[in-house]
């Protein structure tokens, strides 16, 4: 039996489109994932959805379905308008936070969900969260190890991220009086303004008006090169960063 090009062309069409039609009828033509996160296979959490399986194509609504975290909470954590948050695709975060020094994306949502739900998560890799997300997690039951990790992996919210990745510039009198901040901008400003974090340097604290003597007094040690991060210095000198941070924050707040 000889076959020529035209019947072969017809067969190719019939096999591909016929096959797709049949598989559609049988319900096996799925071009998207079922949006059901894989579960932990062993250990204490076996059978529960695993945040590590959250994909970029998931919407906040899908995350809500899988992990029972309201999309409004996710919206608040990642600075999304709460209207329509359920249809916001997780991978959209990367673009939103494009100006951020550290990547905020699908990994950040995985981390947030894990910490929010008290589920295990690999903390050996660096994954970052915006400040709003970190603030929401403060009230959750975090282990000391998770708290320390969170502290060191918090970055400014998107509004702040576009201006400066580390600190919000203090608004000038002119811009402050002209600007009519939206509610979310105002909230994020209050949260990000002059806050001592894992990345804060001594120079920033000096810029916020705290003198070198006060800093040295609080630490009970001489101040190093101002460009050193407070946290790094504390670690080096065996000082408790959390205690020093709180004490220094009190001094910073006095300057406002």
């Amino acid at each position: 039996m000889n076959l020529t090009s035209k019947p072969l062309a017809a067969i190719i069409f019939i096999v591909f489109f016929g096959g797709i039609a049949i598989s559609t009828v049988m319900g096996s033509w799925q071009t998207e994932s079922s949006k059901e996160a894989a579960t932990y296979t062993e250990g204490e959490f076996a059978g529960q959805s695993n945040p590590a399986d959250i994909r970029g194509s998931y919407t906040f609504g899908d995350v809500e379905k899988n992990f029972d975290i309201p999309s409004s909470v996710l919206a608040q954590a990642f600075g999304i308008e709460s209207d329509g948050a359920a249809t916001f695709a997780v991978k959209g975060l990367e673009e939103m936070y494009a100006a951020s020094e550290f990547e905020i994306g699908t990994g950040s949502v995985r981390l947030f969900v894990a910490l929010y739900k008290g589920l295990p998560f690999d903390l050996s890799v660096d994954t970052y969260l915006p400040e709003d997300a970190a603030a929401l997690l403060k009230d959750r039951n975090l282990t000391p190890e998770q708290s320390v990790y969170l502290e060191a992996h918090t970055v400014p919210n998107p509004a702040a991220a576009t201006d400066s990745p580390v600190v919000d510039p203090v608004p000038t009198a002119e811009s402050a009086s002209e600007a009519v901040p939206t509610q979310s901008a105002a909230t994020s400003e209050a949260l990000t303004e002059n806050l001592i974090k894992g990345k804060t340097t001594f120079q920033e604290i000096l810029d916020w008006g705290v003198s070198q003597e006060i800093i040295e007094q609080v630490m009970g040690a001489p101040m190093p090169n101002p460009l050193t991060k407070v946290k790094d210095y504390c670690t080096e000198k065996g000082l408790d960063f959390e205690t020093i941070k709180v004490a220094l924050q009190v001094e910073v707040d006095k300057m406002k």
């Binding site: 000889n2 020529t4 090009s5 035209k6 190719i12 096999v15 096959g19 096996s28 799925q30 998207e32």
Partner: protein, 281 residues
């Protein structure tokens, strides 16, 4: 028109193959654009919004291991890839890698660039690589296949997407495409000026999978020795440099079932290079 069994006006190529290639190229291109539009809140109503991964039969191949061991798909791969993989396999077992010769847009694009190469280099085109080297390089795609399956199985992610020129071709406008993929695409297109289908011949892991069916496919390319004039036209025309004029049945692992060597296209004698099943009458 035929006189004494010989055709006076014979088509120089299988034109319907070009039509089918254009069709699938445009279809995939439109779906890829539509996918981007949908992600940005737009989209063309009647068109599929699937991602390119969901429409790639090779995705089905790389996910087999994970599917059998864990029961899930590799990230970004869905049931549709499995369906397409099975359909392309069925076609290949019957007719050889027609997916490569008629459907795959990556093969099509290389052929388009090669048209220019043929105009520039004429008879030298597709004969630049020394025969011995060429023969050895043709097995490279099996190494690529083993590597792709290995890294996918161990990582559970679609690492090959970062190197895949086909993915880069239909995603160069998105942030999803990796530099490596773009570079490989660029090199492939450049080489297509000198060699027909360089990616298919030397590197494509899916071509490697489908190529194996050439050894046992049902419909074969056969040459009828009794009427053959031994002018070598079929071999000169073959995009994959297969010496059709010296074999009775083409079983070369690189044949793409394009039918360009047959009497319907380049072979000047009717019913001499045929595509059939069973013995030649």
């Amino acid at each position: 028109m035929k006189i004494f069994g010989k055709r006076l006006f014979r088509p120089r190529s299988i034109w319907i193959r070009r039509v089918v290639q254009w069709f699938f190229f445009l279809l995939i291109a439109l779906i890829a654009v539509n996918h981007t539009l949908v992600e940005n809140g737009g989209g063309i109503a009647f068109l599929s919004t699937a991602s390119l991964h969901a429409l790639c039969p090779f995705g089905g191949v790389v996910t087999i291991y994970q599917y059998l061991t864990v029961g899930t798909f590799v990230q970004k791969i869905h049931e549709s890839s499995f369906v397409l993989m099975i359909l392309a396999f069925v076609l290949s077992i019957l007719f050889g890698p027609v997916f490569c010769g008629w459907v795959c847009p990556m093969g099509t694009v290389q052929e388009w660039v090669s048209m220019l190469g043929k105009k520039i280099f004429r008879r030298k085109f597709n004969h630049f690589v020394p025969e011995k080297l060429d023969k050895a390089l043709r097995y490279l795609r099996y190494l690529v296949l083993v590597w792709v399956i290995y890294v996918t199985a161990t990582s559970g992610t679609l690492i090959f997407a970062e190197y895949d020129p086909y993915f880069a071709l239909f995603n160069f406008w998105t942030s999803e495409v990796a530099v490596a993929g773009l570079v490989i695409l660029g090199v492939t297109l450049l080489l297509s000026l000198f060699v027909e289908r360089p990616w298919c011949k030397y590197a494509c892991p899916y071509g490697a999978v489908l190529g194996v069916t050439n050894l046992f496919r049902v419909f074969q390319i056969r040459r009828v020795e009794s009427t053959c004039k031994n002018d070598g036209a079929c071999s000169i025309m073959c995009p994959m440099n297969i010496p059709v004029d010296v074999v009775k049945t083409v079983r070369d692992h690189q044949c793409i079932s394009c039918l360009e060597c047959t009497s319907e296209a380049i072979c000047p004698v009717a019913k001499t290079v045929v595509f059939n099943v069973g013995g030649v009458k």
